[in-house]
Amino acid sequence: GDDESVVDQGTSSDENAASGDTVTIGFSGPAADHGWLGAINSGAQAAADSFADVDLKVAEGTNDASAQIAAVETFINDGVDAIVLLPTDGAALTEVAIKAMEAGIPVINVDREFSSPFAARATILGDNYGMGVSAGHYICEQVGDNPDAVVAEIAGIDSLPLTQDRSQGFADALADCDLEVSARVAADFTVAGGEAAASQLLSANPQIDALWNHDDDQGVGVLAAIESAGRDEFIMMGGAGSKNAMDIIKADDSVLKATVIYPSTQAADGVALARLIAQGKTMSDLITPSVPNRIVLDAPVVTKDNVDQFYDLAFES
C-alpha cells in the first residue's frame, strides 16, 4: 500500500525469529575431510539446531559429483522444502539443481557456483578470487618495496577451480606491485599434505621473503615443516581463518603474521536463508521484501591488530 513505509517491507527480525511452520531442509556438501568443510557441516547443523522449526537432513559428504547428484535426487523425491547445496563441483551439480528448482524446491547454492542462473534461488559465496587479491595486497604491503622479493605459494587441491581462482587473484594483486610467484606447490588441504609440500618447497628455495598458504588447515603442517626446517626469514600468510591460526597470529611468535578469512559460516547462512525462503520470510535488515539472489561474502585480512574482531568467526580446525 501507499501509506506503508519503505522500511517496513518484508518481515521484521522479530517475525523472523519466531517459529513458523516446520520446514525440512536438505543439506549436501563435499566429504568433510578437512577442517574447513567440517566447520561448514557443523555450522549448518548448528544453525538448524538453533531454529526450532528446521528439520535438517544431511546427505553423506562426497567428492563424487554423481553421488552428490543422487543425494539431491533423494531430497527431491522426499519432497524437502529447500535444499542447501555446497557442490563438489558447481557445474556438475547444475543439472540436478535445475531439476530441484523445476520441482518447486528452492535451492541455495553455497560456495561453489552453479553454471546456470536458473539453478539456484539464492547463491551465497566466499570470494576466492578476492581472497587471492587480499593476500596479494597484504604481501605487497609487507615486501613490495623489495623488487627482488621471493614470493612462494602453497596452494590447495590444484584441480579445483577455487584453487585456480585464488591463485589468479594472488597473481593479479602481486602484479600490481611488480612481484610474481616464484615458487609454487600444491598440497591437498590436509595437514600431512601441507607438511610434505612445505618441506619440499623450503628445501628447493633457500631464501624466501613471503609465503601464502591457501588454507590454515594444511597450514598446521606447513608451520610444522617451517619450524622443523628452522626457517624464519620470511613472513607467512594463511587462508580460511582457523582458530589455531588466529591464536598464532595473536601470539605473534612465528612466521605466520596474517590470514585471509574464507567464512566457514556459509552453509549456516545457507540454512538460515533456506528457512526464510521456505517460510516466505525476508532478510529483516534489507528493505527489499525478498531474499537476495546472490551474496558474496567478504574476504578480510586478519592480522594481530584486528584478530580479536574476527576471533568468533574462526573455525576449530
Binding site: 563424487d64 543422487a70 543425494a71 535426487e73 553454471s115
Partner: protein, 352 residues
Amino acid sequence: MSEQTTPGGAVAAPTPPPTPTEPTPAKESGIRRLLSGSVGRNLGLVVALLLIVAVGAITSPDNFATWSNTLVILRQASIVGVISIGMTFVIISGGIDLSVGSVMGLASVVATIDVAQDLASATHWTVMVLFALLVGVAAGLINGIVIAYGNVVAFMATLAMLVSARGLAEIVAERRTLIVGDRGFVGFFREDFLGVDVLIWIFILVAAAGWILLNRTTFGRRTVAIGGNREASRLAGINVKRHTVWLYVLAGLCAGIAGVMILGRTTAGTSTHGQLLELDAIAAVVVGGTLLIGGRGTIVGTVLGVLIFQTLTNVFVQNNLDSSVQAVAKGVIIVVAVLLQQRFAKPAGRSS
C-alpha cells in the same frame, strides 16, 4: 578329427568296469550343484540386498520403497555399474584395472574440450561420445600392451595409468570444469524411455551385453580359461597376450562409456570425475562373488554387488545418518556381505 579311434579291439578289459571309479554322492547333488553354482553364490547376494531393502523400507516407510527412489538408486548405480562390468572381465581373467576412474575423468574432459564441442555443434553430438569412447579404448590399449607385452604386473601398470590419466585430464581441462554446450546431448540424457532414464538403459544394455559376452561367446570362454589357468590356456593355443590386451581395451571402453554417462548426468567434464571409483567398482565385483585371483565370476553377481552398495548409501541418506557413522557401518556391512556370500557359496568343492 579322430573318428577312426573308436574303442576297438585293442582296449584292455573286455568287460567294462561295473561301477564308475568316482564315488558320486548321489543324493544331494541336485540342490547342492544349484547352490554351489552361480545361482547359489548370487542367492547370498540377493538375501543381502533384500535385507538392506527391508531395513530401508522399515526405517523410511514413505520415501524408500517408491518408484522414484528406485530410479534414484538405479541412476546412481548405472555409472559405477558400467565400469564394474568391464572390471568383472579383467578380474575374472586374473588381472585388475585401477585406472578406470581416472580414465573416465579423462574421457569426460576430452569429450568436452573446445575442439570436440565445436566439432559436435558443427555435426552431431555423438562426436563427443566418440571422443570419450576413443579415450577409453586408447587408455585400455596402453594398459593392455604394457601388461601383456611389457610383462608389467597389472596392479602397477594400471596404477601408473591412474596417476597419468588424472594428470593429463587436469592439463587438458586446464583445471576448469568444462560445461557441455550441446543441448542435444544434454537433452538425450534427460529423456526417459518407458519411464526409465537413458542412463539406466545404458547400464542395462551394457550389463546384458557383458552377460552375453561372458557366457555365450568365445571371448568370454577365453577370459575364464585364462583366469582359471593362464599357462594351460597358452599351451592350448589361446593367444593369451592378445586376449589380455582386448580385456583392458574392454575395461577402457566401459570407462569411456561411463565418461559419457557422467557427462550426461552432470553436464560437465572435469578431471575430478571418477575419483576412487575404481575401489567402488572392485568392491562391487568382489562382493559380487568374482574371485580376485581370477577364473570365476558372474555379471549377475557384479550387478547385485553394485546395487547392494548403492542401496546401502541410499538407506543411509534416507535415515539421515552422519557420514562418519555411515563409513563405519559401511565397513562392517562389507565384511558381513562377504561372509554371507561365502556362507551360501560354501557347499561347493574345495576351499583353499
